[in-house]
């Protein structure tokens, strides 16, 4: 097996007596789509925060591309190719969809301490941004102020922004949350197109989507990883079934 792109070693985060993630160890292989599932309150979002650097871990370490990034801030991790999206839509509502993405391109290309020249006219930023929007299926909506986009479109926009940071690995925090059926289909299609071209860690509640997309699945229960395996074997795992009992129907 190749060296993992992302490796978590014994990550832990607690708020007072409440332990949210506990001794989480995980390895994500280059190119795979690795889903993390778990019942509500299992600590999935906290884990994403720890990986992306939004939250400091109490102990344990995060290795990315073979290097320890535990002490780096979020922007520094982004600089190394570790990008994320947010569960609650997090875009710049006053900016057009294109500008949202162009900003992400800008972060990767050249200094942003430039005080002259109209950034919104820079072809070198707008062209790649447009590509990303098209990949995310939003090309036609590029010039709409993003605050006016539909909820599903905002999720697609988040994906496009994530792509524009040219990540090696994309952390997606419930990209389907709150979308309607058609919208969620569109996002799933986009993910399917991206799959294989870059490594993706996906946190998602929609089991149908997870099991159709993921190469491997890790199950988080009460802050601990209880199993990591292929979708088929996870579905058969009795421990996982027990954890989900009464929570929601396994597909």
């Amino acid at each position: 097996m190749a060296e993992p792109l992302l490796e978590l070693r014994n990550l832990r985060k607690a708020y007072g007596a409440l332990v949210v993630t506990d001794d989480v160890s995980l390895a994500v292989q280059p190119g795979e789509l690795h889903a993390i599932i778990g019942p509500n309150g299992a600590g999935k979002t906290t884990l994403i925060h720890q990986i992306s650097g939004t939250l400091r871990s109490d102990s344990g370490s995060v290795l990315f591309a073979g290097q320890d990034v535990t002490s780096l801030s979020m922007p520094q991790r982004v600089g190394r190719g570790l990008a994320r999206s947010f569960q609650i839509t997090s875009i710049l509502p006053g900016f057009s969809a294109l500008e949202n993405v162009a900003l992400a391109v800008q972060a990767r290309s050249g200094s942003s301490f430039r005080f002259f020249g109209n950034a919104s006219q820079e072809k070198a930023l707008n062209q790649p941004a447009m590509d990303c929007l098209q990949q995310a299926g939003l090309g036609a909506r590029a010039h709409i102020p993003s605050g006016l986009l539909s909820h599903g479109e905002k999720r697609q926009l988040e994906l496009a922004i994530g792509l524009a940071t040219e990540p090696k690995l994309l952390l997606l925090d419930e990209p389907l949350a709150g979308t309607g059926h058609d919208e969620s289909q569109r996002v799933v299609e986009t993910l399917r197109r991206l799959k294989g071209r870059l490594t993706i860690v996906l946190i998602e509640h929609d089991m149908e989507a997870v099991f159709s997309l993921a190469d491997r699945v890790s199950v988080l229960v009460y802050g601990r990883v209880i199993a990591t395996d292929t979708p088929g074997r996870i579905r058969a795992n009795p421990e996982v079934r027990a954890a989900y009992l009464g929570e929601e129907e396994m597909v």
């Binding site: 982004v78 710049l92 992400a104 109209n118 950034a119």
Partner: protein
């Protein structure tokens, strides 16, 4: 990021090259004013008043750069007026009267002060940021009042306006007026450029959603700090001009009330619109200057004594006027100007 971010309604600047009426009319009016001033027969007064408007326009615009585009409410910006003013005053008392030295010194001093206080203040957010900038402003104010060698609380009179490359050209009110107009235009053009630039886009993005900016790889702190320094330097320039306009420098330049007035000018004009800040400064200063007379004028049907009373108590009208503007004119004066176009 600050509590203001989610509600601040400043629109992204129009990035199209659309013909913009307001700034053109505004600057044309400033350019034409000297003619009018001559005609009025009170040119020194009219020029002096309009020069003040332009100087405070620069300061308000400087504040708008971080307040309107960065949601950073600095409640200590008058400190930079003081730094600029004292740079001129202190250098002049030591025989260095040339603006070509004074202004760079003022800019460097403003930048240093902004760098140090900004680096500390930006650790905090929202109201805490407002108050910590106030704290630094107050510290500088009290420092100035204790400078006995430079007049302490009374301040000091400049023996003359600054020289420019050894020439006494600024002695003429007209020349000084043009210099201020050039500074205003320069500051405006520079600010427009900054706002639309890569840097400005990051700043605006940070105002809307700092977490998102971090998630695409920006460190907001560095951009906010740089913006704070730029803004401080612009306000420092305004301070140099203000000292020359009044031919006088004193700690009164940097009271917290003055910082508050700068905020009002920006909000009055309309947040996040650079020429709005200039218009806000103009509206504020001209109201301050003429409201007593306007009140005296419109109350012609009352007894003279009552009219004098009314004019003296003009703040009793100015206060409610501010309240009404806030309640009924969203987005300041620029909001008012923009409204018909939108709909």
């Amino acid at each position: 990021m600050t509590e203001l971010a989610d509600t601040a309604s400043a629109p992204a600047p129009s990035l199209s090259t659309r013909f913009e009426v307001v700034p053109i009319v505004l600057f044309a009016a400033f350019a034409a004013a000297p003619l009018f001033a001559t005609y009025s027969g009170a040119e020194g007064y009219v020029l002096s008043l309009l020069t003040r408007v332009m100087i405070f326009g620069i300061a308000a615009m400087a504040l708008d750069l971080i307040l309107g585009y960065g949601a950073l409410v600095s409640f200590g910006h008058a400190a930079f007026l003081g730094i600029g003013g004292y740079a001129v005053g202190i250098l002049a008392t030591h025989g260095i009267e040339d603006a070509l030295i004074q202004i760079p010194v003022a800019l460097v001093a403003s930048a240093l002060f902004a760098l140090v206080t900004g680096a500390i203040s930006l650790r905090t957010k929202g109201v805490y940021f407002i108050m910590i900038t106030l704290a630094f402003g107050q510290m500088l104010y009290f420092l100035a009042t204790s400078l006995a060698a430079y007049g302490g609380d009374d301040g000091m009179t400049l023996s003359s306006r600054s020289l420019v490359a050894g020439s006494r050209i600024l002695k003429s009110d007209f020349a000084f007026y043009w210099m201020c107009l050039i500074c205003l235009l320069g500051a405006y053009a520079f600010s427009r450029s900054v706002v639309a630039s890569r840097f400005g886009r990051v700043l605006r993005g940070t105002r809307e959603n700092a977490i998102r900016m971090e998630a695409i790889g920006f460190q907001p702190f560095r951009f906010q700090l740089a913006a704070y320094v730029i803004s401080g330097m612009m306000a420092g320039l305004a301070g140099c001009l203000l000292a020359n306009q009044a031919e006088f420098v004193s700690p009164a330049f940097m009271t917290w009330q003055r910082s508050g007035e700068l905020i009002f000018m920006v909000v009055l004009g309309g947040l996040g619109s650079l020429h709005g800040a200039i218009i806000g400064a103009a509206a504020f200063l001209l109201l301050e200057e003429f409201l007593p007379e306007i009140l005296h004028g419109v109350s012609f049907f009352l007894a003279e004594e009552t009219r004098a009373h009314l004019a003296e108590n003009w703040k009793m009208v100015f206060g409610p006027l501010l309240i009404l503007i806030v309640l009924f004119v969203r987005g300041g004066i620029m909001g008012l100007l923009r409204r018909p176009r939108h709909g």
